[in-house]
Symmetry: C2
Amino acid sequence: MKNVGAIPIRAVTVLDKCGQACTVLVVDEMPLTLFLDNQKIVTLMTLGNYPEALAVGYLRNQTFIKTLPEIRSIQISLENKTVEIDTLDNLDMKKPVLSTVQSGCGQGLSLDIDNLEDIHLSHPPLKQSLIYTLLDTLAQSNQIHRQAGGVHTCALCQMSDILGFVEDVGRHNAIDTIAGLMWLNDWSGEDKIFYTTGRLTSEMVMKVALMRIPVLLSRSGVTYKGIEIAKKVGITLIAHAKGQHLLVFNDNKTIVFDTN
Amino acid sequence: MKNVGAIPIRAVTVLDKCGQACTVLVVDEMPLTLFLDNQKIVTLMTLGNYPEALAVGYLRNQTFIKTLPEIRSIQISLENKTVEIDTLDNLDMKKPVLSTVQSGCGQGLSLDIDNLEDIHLSHPPLKQSLIYTLLDTLAQSNQIHRQAGGVHTCALCQMSDILGFVEDVGRHNAIDTIAGLMWLNDWSGEDKIFYTTGRLTSEMVMKVALMRIPVLLSRSGVTYKGIEIAKKVGITLIAHAKGQHLLVFNDNKTIVFDTN
């Protein structure tokens, strides 16, 4: 579950706006290829810090695997940049191949809104002051972003504590890694808050719904379909959350505005 | 090629940080399913303004189709939210299915760096003042972002003129749409500048290389692998470009710093 390699930050020489050479830090990516029951599923470009959690979370969020016990073994080769996951009964062979390799960023929706029919989330009242405390803690945790930029953050939080904090080159890698960490650590979603720096497009909100997390907090904006999904499943949806600012797009009458 | 529907912006009621109801604008997404020779390829979540260009550009950037003349017909159904593309010789059936449905955002690399071996780009000297003029023009063009946020922009530019300007929910949709517009309008890449608000991960730089565009400009940051690809193919790579600021990550000795 922990970081398996050096944090992939590199120093490069650039020219600034005056034409002067200077050094800045950037993140590096690596390709990570996932095999499920010996079948190649996808190659993800990732910082590579959580290959096991990313692989498990990707397969979970793409609905290849419904429960963790379906997995028989996980083999990670950092040399070959592969994660090989075997299931108890060769699950992937039962699925039509074309529905299985689609992936995030609005490109390739394999998540079906019908999967959300049985999801009805709720949570106790949530104080605005707790959200601000959490945002402050989160703002101090983004080590890679602060050094090198070029990454998105996703975090799993309980009250104002951070249980999992993942930075990666794409918001979908980051959310999939959190989904993997939840399974691998046996964390439930019911009493958690999900935070992301990324925009809340429909796929992101759908993944949070499938993770059964009732509160979703984003530093960025949201799409109409994202709001619709949040209302459908009862997710309290807060966007443009930064510092002492936020907008509540679906409140479920649960936010306590205690800071004014 | 033009906008086929209303710009998908909706007004929603939110609670502000004081708990007061107010109205904000958000973008909406729609699913757009691509069929190639009657085979479902992918469902993209998109603003839906350029279904033809998005479909063609997706198939181009995912290397399903190598040249526009391979396409026999394109049928768009806004009612069914589909684009059906038929080729002259059922190209997709020749490819292994698993390599074909992978997609962007660092999730699903089907672009192979070996495809870049023959690409050696160059361009005449580029004045910093022209870049600033272009950035100013671009900043005035992002109608959807300014109204509702939640989108990325990609633009194809020639000197300080904008030929194509696309906003969509994901940076990969936006760049694929530009790739489609280039084919559909018979625009070459050699004398162009590509601009994006998105981060320059390896996949984005690779797509720009395949579009044969020698100058790449981003409002955001860049990854190390993105820089490596730019150096390999000779793309002048400028990131953190906003207002009167920029950092040149690969200069090819072509930037004329004329504003200091």
